[in-house]
């Protein structure tokens, strides 16, 4: 079949206890496993073993991002395809990289990001019974997003990485900011019929701009802002609206400096939909529709 959706994100954190406390108590994730230098977390409605891995390292930033594929055969398919395109691919057996992890292939994007495709991660169930389940668990803490949603990377040549994602991995472009010189300043791509599963913006190679959790509605963004303010978490933006993707969002930083987003809205997109283009002059509105000006801190700070 194909690549389904964003599966997991592995972050570097210089303080594992602090970061874990934040992701569990403020964001509201569930810890599923722990090693001396890694903590495995998932959102409450996710069935898979982990969607966020915190790895103790001296710096912050992104170690790798993982996408889920539908069938085990997809790993062979993409391994062969990437191989014939001259991309080095490393294969992991199930459980080899981490507890609960599935079979996976790992490779590098032209921007230097480590990307993985994974299949067969251990299914641990969401926090609800399979028979007569209530619509949500009680006793959740923090923002309690049901799942991870997308990831936003920085790359020196957005065009090149976008082309790689489309040609090698069958991602589809939904929106782009085109510079006056005709180059892509930023792009949004999807595999799951949403407004985006991955996005790219001009910046240093290998950088993480942010990764995002899904919430169900605008009210949940207000709750998330309340939670941030209560815990003294620095909000980068108010609850606001994107022009690109049409989503509503809230940005803030984890205690070691990685940017998080809570995201809702957007749209369904057919595979043959025509991409939306934003011109450089309208880039402010493309990013933050209400503010309408390019937020320089938002564009320059990344990990």
């Amino acid at each position: 079949m194909s690549i389904l959706r964003l599966s997991h994100v592995e972050l570097r954190v210089p303080d594992l206890e602090l970061a874990t406390a934040y992701y569990v108590e403020v964001v509201g994730l569930v810890e599923t496993a722990r090693e001396h230098n890694r903590v495995f977390l998932k959102c409450w409605d996710e069935h898979q073993h982990h969607s966020l891995v915190l790895t103790l390292e001296p710096t912050h930033g992104l170690n790798h991002l993982g996408f889920k594929v539908t069938d085990a055969a997809d790993l062979d398919h993409y391994q062969a395809r990437l191989g014939s395109a001259g991309v080095a691919v490393k294969r992991y057996a199930a459980g080899e990289w981490a507890p609960g992890h599935g079979e996976a292939i790992r490779f590098e994007l032209p921007s230097g990001h480590q990307m993985e495709l994974v299949h067969g991660m251990q299914q641990v169930g969401n926090l609800l019974p399979q028979t007569n389940p209530p619509p949500r668990p009680m006793g959740l803490v923090g923002m309690a997003p049901p799942r991870v949603d997308h990831i936003f990377l920085t790359a020196e040549e957005v065009d090149t990485v976008t082309r790689f994602l489309v040609e090698q991995l069958d991602f589809r472009l939904t929106e782009q900011v085109l510079g006056d010189d005709g180059f892509q300043i930023a792009t949004w791509l999807e595999v799951s019929h949403t407004s985006h599963d991955i996005a790219l913006i001009t910046g240093p190679n290998g950088g993480l701009h942010h990764f995002a959790f899904w919430v169900d509605g605008w009210n949940d963004l207000r709750t998330a802002a309340d939670v941030c303010a209560y815990h003294g978490v620095t909000l980068e933006t108010n609850p606001t609206r994107h022009g690109a993707t049409r989503g509503q969002c809230l940005y803030f930083f984890d205690p070691v400096g990685n940017r998080n987003e809570m995201f809702t809205g957007g749209y369904w997109v057919d595979p043959d939909a025509e991409p939306i283009t934003w011109t450089e002059a309208e880039m402010g509105r493309a990013l933050f529709y209400y503010d309408g000006v390019v937020n320089q801190k938002f564009l320059t700070v990344h990990t």
Binding site: D45, N132, P134, P135, V166, R172, N219, R241, W278, T279
Partner: protein, 357 residues
């Protein structure tokens, strides 16, 4: 893009060199369309999944075309895409396909068909073959026979519902959004307290069938739907099933009832605030709510049910979840049917159980 001439007597194996009845094989070579927009066009054959994508349109009959059209435009906020002698075709503001609702004049209110969109042209051949092998007659509808769409196939499901599968649809401009620097809401209706419901798109429909189990098997085995939830009676028989293709809780649901019946069709709203706004609009226009605003146990969605002026049940729906294809099916038992359907009320009303079109 042109469709190659099709010889109905030629077997699929001869035409494609493969047996599509066993499912589109991995790595199938497909025609690459060079005229599509760069960046979305795969430059080589891909493994992009085919099959049914999503609900395309619902065709119902109405006893008063003017009243129905007035309701679906002025209250629901849909746009008219076209008319012919006996029908009006409508779409929601974020839809770029020609229509998602057809209203056809007839002496009685009823259900003509449900149409689902498939991803690739050759999915029509594939699914036609599978439906035929199941033993149901399949009709090819050629380009130009139906307003706003190309070739399609039609067949009656085991429960007597006419189902259509379509690939090519006429593109119309989204009423709300251009493709360059678009506003994030419907541009033609200025933002403000909505005086129409204005859903961005159609979401799903629920049909009634005497043999829910048989229908469900058909949708799953032949058409590739995946079951997310089921309601079982004390003997383990399916009283209702919720089926998806689009990674949502349901694109199609089947509940026990008369064969051929439509229980309701549903529009998507973005969140619970919009559900409240919809209730405001309905109340202002004197439209009786059937149930809600409330929450489903099944699908976890938030909802209101109401009737159009001729008697077809509508729903506005939001929420739910995002199931992967390996999603473990959720089961509801009959003793929990109240909460399964209406989680807050915990019980069903007779009208909801009995009234359909």
């Amino acid at each position: 893009m042109t469709t190659p001439a099709r010889d109905p007597l030629q077997r699929d194996e001869e035409r494609h060199g493969v047996d599509y009845a066993e499912g589109t094989p991995s790595g199938t070579t497909r025609e690459v369309l060079r005229d599509l927009v760069p960046g979305r066009t795969p430059l080589r054959p891909t493994r992009t999944p085919g099959g049914i994508l999503r609900l395309a349109h619902v065709d119902i009959t109405v006893t008063d075309l003017d009243v129905a059209t007035a309701y679906y435009t002025e209250v629901m906020g849909m746009a008219v895409s076209g008319r012919d002698t006996d029908s009006v075709y409508l779409r929601c503001w974020d839809e770029t396909d020609h229509h998602s609702l057809r209203l056809r004049y007839a002496p009685r209110v009823g259900f003509d068909l449900m149409a689902y969109k498939v991803q690739h042209e050759d999915d029509l051949d594939d699914l036609e073959n599978k439906v035929a092998r199941y033993g149901l007659p399949v009709q090819r509808v050629s380009r130009g026979e139906s307003v706003g769409q190309g070739e399609s196939i039609r067949f009656a499901t085991p429960s007597g519902h006419v189902m259509e599968l379509v690939h090519e649809v006429e593109r119309v401009a989204a009423t709300g959004r251009g493709r360059t620097n678009p506003d994030p809401f419907q541009a033609q209706g200025e933002p403000g307290p909505p005086s129409r419901i204005r859903p961005p798109r159609m979401d799903h429909l629920l049909v009634t069938a005497e043999e829910v189990g048989e229908s469900t098997q058909f949708y799953m085995d032949v058409l590739g739907f995946r079951i997310t939830e089921q309601l079982l009676d004390g003997n383990g028989h399916q009283l209702g099933t919720w089926l998806e293709r689009s990674h949502s809780p349901h694109d199609l649901a089947v509940v026990h009832g008369a064969n051929g019946g439509l229980h309701h069709f549903a529009y998507w709203l973005d969140d619970w605030d919009d559900v409240r706004d919809a209730a405001d609009v309905l109340a202002y226009n004197g439209i009786q709510l059937d149930v809600g605003p409330t929450r489903h146990g099944i699908t976890r969605g938030s909802t209101i049910y109401f009737f159009d002026p001729l008697g077809t049940r509508n729903e506005v729906f939001t929420g739910g979840y995002r199931p992967d294809p390996d999603f473990p099916t959720i089961t509801w038992t009959e003793d929990n049917v109240g909460r399964a359907i209406f989680y807050y009320e915990g019980e069903l009303n007779d009208r909801f159980m009995k009234v359909h079109t």
